[in-house]
Symmetry: C2
C-alpha cells in the first residue's frame, strides 16, 4: 500500500481495487454513448473557442484520463464546455488573432495556467474561495453567457463573419454583415437548429406515443446532433454546397493528440493570468456543482479540494496535448451518469473512443458545415438561459436581484470577465453594507416562557428601568460606531433607564474596533449613571473579551441568559409569577 499522504491524492486507488466485470461492462456501454455525443460537441466547442476543430477532440482525450486518476466524482465527464470555451475565446482574443499559431499557442498557455492555479488552490485547500461566487452571480453569469454564446454562433448560421465578445459588438457585426448572408448556409443552419429544437421538445413524446421504450426514446433524443451532422454533411457533399460558399470543417489531421509545449513567456503569462484565474474558479464551480448533484443521487461524497487537483491535472494535460481549458461539463456528465457509468474508468474508455475517432473518423467530417456545429451550440446553450432568475431574485430580496441584474447586464455589455468580477465584488459590498447597519431590536420576555423577543413584533413583558438591546450582527469595525450612535440616541431620550443589557445571542465576534466602542459605551453610560450588562455571550466571544480589560471595567455583569438578567435587574420576576422557575447560578 502507498503511504497515506500519497493515497489521499489518488482516489483511483479507492475504486480501482474493487473494479469488477459488471462495473466494466456498465462503464463500457456508457463510454460508447458518450463518445458518440462528444464527437460533434468537441468540434463545436473548438469552433466556439476560435480554435481548429481537432483541438476540441484533443482536449477531450488526455484530460478525461487524468481526471479519472485524480478526481473524486464517479460520473463527471471532463472536457471542453460552452462557458469556458467562450471565456477562452474572450481571453486569447485579446492577445492573438484567431486562426494564427499564436492563438492556438495562447490557448495552451491558458490551459497550463488554469491547471497550475487549480492545482495550487487544491494543495493550499483554497476550494472555499469558490463560495464567494454567490448563487445569483452564477445564475446571472450562466444566463448572460448563454445569450452571448448564442449571439456569437448566429453568424455561422447566417454565413456572416462576426467578431467581438460583448452583445453590442456581436449585434453590430451581425448588422454590418447582413449583405454577406449565404442562403445555403442559412437553410442548413436554420434547418439544423429547428430540427434540434424539435428533437429536444417533440421527439420524445412522439416516440413514446408510438410505443418506443423510454430508454430507447432517450437515446434517440441524445443522438439528435449526430443525425443533424450526418444529414447536413451529406447535403453539402451531395449538392457541392462548399463551392456555393457554405463554410465547412475541412481538413482535420488524422492523428492522436500531439505533444505540445505551451508558450511560457512572461508577457503572455501576465496577460492571461487574470482570465485564467476566472476560468479556473468558474470552471471549478460549474464542475463541482454537477459532481455534487450526481454524487448525491448515489450517496457518494465529493472532496472539493481533491476536485481542484483532478481538474488541475486535466488542464495541465490539455496544455501539453494540443487542447484548451477544460472542466466537468453538465450535459456530458449527465449523459454519462444516465448511461450507467459506475466509475471514472468510463471516462478512460471514452478517451479511447475519441482517440479512435481522432485517428479514423476525421476525414468523414470534411464536408460538415460549421452552421450545423453552431446549431448544436445554440440549442445547447439556450437551455442555460434562465431570465426567470431575475423575477425570483426580485421576489426574494432586492440585494440578490441587484447582484443578478448587474452580473447579467455587465456580462452582456462588457464581457464575461468584467461581468463576473463585478457580480462578485457587488455581492461582497452589499453584504458588507448590510452588516454595517445591523438590525437592532429591543426585546422583552414572552409571557409564560424564558424566551425574549422583539417588543415590536411580540406581546412581551418589559420594565421601564431595564433596556435590553439585541444586536443582530457580529460587532466589527464596520458597525461598531453604528451601535454606539444607536445606543446614545436611544438612552438619551429615555430617562427612567437604569440598566442597559446588550443581548449577545447573535454576536459571533467582537473585534478590536468593536471592543473600543464597547469600552466607550461602558464609560459614557457610566458617566450618566447607567450600568451596562451583557447576556448570552457565546463561548468564543467570551474567550476573546477575557483577553482585554473590558470585563474588569464593565459597570454591570455578564449573565448566562437574558432571563437571568431580567430576574436580577428587575422586580417583575418573583417566584410567585406563574411557576417556580429555577434560575441558573
Amino acid at each position: 500500500m502507498l503511504p497515506r499522504p500519497i493515497a489521499r491524492y489518488l482516489p483511483i486507488l479507492d475504486w480501482g481495487r474493487q473494479y469488477n466485470r459488471t462495473a466494466f461492462s456498465n462503464d463500457l456501454i456508457a463510454a460508447v454513448i458518450v463518445t458518440i455525443m462528444l464527437v460533434p460537441q468537441s468540434l463545436a466547442y473548438a469552433l466556439l473557442a476560435g480554435l481548429p476543430p481537432e483541438a476540441g477532440i484533443y482536449a477531450s482525450i488526455v484530460p478525461i484520463v487524468l481526471y479519472a486518476i485524480f478526481g473524486t466524482s464517479r460520473a463527471l465527464a471532463v472536457g471542453p464546455v460552452a462557458v469556458v470555451s467562450l471565456m477562452t475565446a474572450a481571453a486569447i482574443g485579446n492577445v492573438a488573432e484567431s486562426g494564427t499559431m499564436g492563438y492556438a499557442m495562447a490557448a495552451l498557455t491558458l490551459a497550463a495556467l488554469s491547471g497550475a492555479i487549480l492545482l495550487a488552490m487544491g494543495f493550499l485547500r483554497l476550494g472555499f474561495l469558490a463560495n464567494f461566487l454567490s448563487h445569483p452571480v452564477i445564475a446571472g453569469f450562466i444566463t448572460a453567457s448563454g445569450i452571448l454564446i448564442a449571439a456569437s454562433q448566429l453568424g455561422h448560421i447566417l454565413g456572416i463573419k462576426t467578431h467581438g465578445h460583448t452583445l453590442p459588438e456581436l449585434l453590430e457585426s451581425l448588422l454590418h454583415g447582413l449583405d454577406q448572408i449565404n442562403i445555403y448556409t442559412v437553410m442548413l443552419g436554420a434547418g439544423a437548429t429547428a430540427f434540434l429544437f424539435w428533437v429536444r421538445k417533440g421527439l420524445k413524446p412522439l416516440l413514446r406515443g408510438i410505443g418506443v421504450s423510454p430508454k430507447m426514446a432517450d437515446v434517440a433524443t441524445k443522438a439528435g446532433p449526430v443525425a443533424a451532422v450526418v444529414a447536413t454533411t451529406l447535403a453539402v457533399w451531395g449538392f457541392n454546397l462548399a463551392e456555393s460558399g457554405v463554410k465547412i470543417v475541412g481538413d482535420v489531421p488524422q492523428s492522436l493528440p500531439p505533444l505540445t509545449m505551451p508558450d511560457f513567456s512572461p508577457d503572455l503569462i501576465s496577460a492571461l493570468f487574470v482570465p485564467a484565474l476566472l476560468i479556473s474558479i468558474i470552471g471549478f464551480v460549474e464542475s463541482i456543482s454537477v459532481a455534487q448533484t450526481l454524487a448525491a443521487k448515489k450517496r457518494q461524497r465529493i472532496t472539493p479540494d481533491q476536485e481542484l487537483i483532478g481538474l488541475g491535472a486535466a488542464n495541465i494535460g490539455a496544455a501539453f496535448t494540443g487542447g484548451f481549458p477544460v472542466t466537468g461539463g453538465f450535459s456530458r456528465s449527465v449523459v454519462n451518469f444516465d448511461a450507467g457509468a459506475e466509475t471514472p474508468a468510463a471516462g478512460a474508455f471514452t478517451a479511447v473512443g475519441l482517440a479512435i475517432a481522432a485517428v479514423a473518423l476525421t476525414p468523414l467530417v470534411y464536408f460538415l458545415p460549421k452552421a450545423t456545429l453552431a446549431a448544436t451550440i445554440i440549442v445547447a446553450v439556450l437551455s442555460l438561459v434562465d431570465l426567470g432568475i431575475l423575477k425570483r431574485a426580485w421576489g426574494y430580496s432586492k440585494k440578490d436581484f441587484m447582484a443578478v441584474a448587474t452580473t447579467i447586464a455587465l456580462t452582456l455589455g462588457f464581457g464575461v470577465e468584467i461581468g463576473v468580477s463585478a457580480g462578485v465584488i457587488l455581492s461582497i459590498l452589499l453584504y458588507l453594507y448590510k452588516t454595517s447597519r445591523p438590525h437592532i431590536a429591543e426585546v422583552g420576555l414572552v409571557e409564560g416562557t424564558q424566551h425574549f423577543r422583539n417588543i415590536k413584533r411580540h406581546a412581551v413583558r418589559t420594565d421601564a428601568s431595564l433596556l435590553t438591546i439585541r444586536i443582530d450582527e457580529s460587532l466589527y469595525f464596520a458597525n461598531a460606531r453604528y451601535l454606539e450612535d444607536h445606543l446614545y440616541n436611544r438612552v438619551l431620550q429615555d430617562c427612567p433607564v437604569r440598566n442597559v443589557v446588550l443581548m449577545f445571542s447573535a454576536v459571533n465576534e467582537v473585534d478590536m474596533s468593536a471592543l473600543e466602542s464597547l469600552e466607550a459605551i461602558n464609560t459614557r453610560l457610566g458617566e450618566i449613571g447607567i450600568k451596562l450588562h451583557l447576556s448570552e455571550v457565546k463561548g468564543p466571544v467570551m474567550d476573546r473579551l477575557k483577553r482585554s480589560h473590558f470585563l474588569d471595567d464593565l459597570t454591570g455583569e455578564v449573565f448566562l441568559s437574558q432571563y437571568d438578567a431580567m430576574a436580577a435587574l428587575t422586580d417583575i420576576l418573583p417566584a410567585k409569577d406563574s411557576a417556580p422557575i429555577v434560575t441558573a447560578a
Copy 2:
C-alpha cells in the same frame, strides 16, 4: 426663519442665535492662544507638504471660517495637519516637482477634489464609509505616518536634501547625503528638538515645582514652539548663519490669502482622484474622532454627514485661496477646547488673527531656520507613534494584529496610499474569511432553565434522536455550502438522529444562495428519513423566508424557541420534570 432643509445644512443658525458677551470673550481668548500656536505650525506643515510657507497660513484662514458656518463641532479647529500634509506631498510629488508652480497648482486641485468628494459624501449621506477604516488600520497608519514624517524631517535637521515618500527611500537619501551635513543646521535643529522635547516632558513639572499655577504652566508649555522659533531666528540673524548654509524660510509675501483657481485639467484630476479620496476619508476619520471626543465632554452631538459638508466647504475654501488639503487637527482643536472656546466663532477670530499675521508678521520669519520648523514637526508627530498597538492587537486577536502589522509595514515600505488601502482590504478579507467558516455549535438544555448552550462548554441535557445545531453566523453565499458539508458529515456518522433543529438565534440573514442550501439540506435529510426544523428565527429572517417556497416544503416545523422544539420533539421534557413550565403556543 429659513426653511428647514436649508437650516439643516447651516448649524451656525443654531448657536449664532444664542451668541452672547460671555461666549464672545471666551472665544476671543481661545482665538489668541490658538493663533500664537498656529503661526509656526502652519509654516511647518506647509514645509512638510513641500509648499511655500505662506500656503500653510492661507490654508488656516478661509477654511476655518467656512467650517465655522457649516460644521457641527463647537471646538474643532480646521487647518493643515501632519498626516494630511504628508499625504499631500506624496500625492502631488507624483505629478509635479516640489517648488514649481505646477506643484502649488496641484495642491489646489487636490484640495478642490477632496472638498468635492467630502461634499458629495455628505449630501449622499455616505459618512458610514469611514467605518470601514478599522481601529487597527487607523492606529497602524497613524503610527507609520508618524515615523515617515519624522524621517522626512530629519533631512532638514541635518541640512541634507532628502526625497521619497517611503522609509527605504528616505533612509537611502539620508545616507547618500551624509557628506552634505551642515554643522550650524544640526546645532540649531538638534537644539530645538531637544528643547521642545524638554518643554513637553520636563517644563511643566518644573514650573509647578516653583509654584506656577497649572493653567499658566500649561500655556507656557504650549508656547514652547514659539520660544524655539524666536530664539533660533535671532541666532540665525545675529550670527549671519544663513550665509553659512543654514536654510531659512526667507521671503514670505505680506498678503491676505490670494484668490486662486485650481487646475481642473482631466489628466490632473484622474491622477489625483484616488489620493484625494484617501485624503478625504482619512481626514474625515481623524477630524470626526477629535470632534466626537471633545463633544462628548460637553454632551454635545456631532452629525457625521454634516461634518462631511463642513470639511468639504473648508477644503473648497482652501483650494480657492492658495491653500492645500485641510482637516480638523487634534492638537489645535484640543488647545482651542482647553483655552475655553465655546462656539465656532473662536475659529473665525483665529482666522482674523492669522490674517493679521499674514499681513504684518511675515517679515519677522525671514531668518527662521527650516530646521526649527522640522523640529516642531518631529516632536509633534513622535507622540503619534504608538508601536505598543502591535502588542495589544497580538494579545487580543491575531486577525487584528495582521491588520495592524500589514498597515504599518506597507505604509513604511510603499507609502501612505498603498499602506492604508492594503489595511482596509485586508481587514475586509479577514472578516469575510471568518464569516465564510462560521462557528457551529451543538447545543443542549442548561438544567433548570429554558436556555440552550454548547454541549462542549456546559453541562446540558440532550436527546440522541434530536440534533440541535446553532449556527453562529448569518447564512450567506460565502458560508452556505460550508453549513451543508458540516451537516452532512455530522448526520451521516450518527444513526439515531431523527430530527435536526437549526437554531437560528444568531442567523441575521438568509440570502438566496443560503436559501438554496437550506432547500438542499431539507431535501437530502428528508431522503434519509430525518426531519428538518428551525427554531428562534428572527422576525426579519422569517419575513424573508416566507417569500419563498422553503417553509411550505420544510419537512419539520418552525419553533418560537429552542425549548419549545425540545418539548415537542423529545420525551425528556414532560410536565412532571421539576416544574410545570408553560410552553408557548
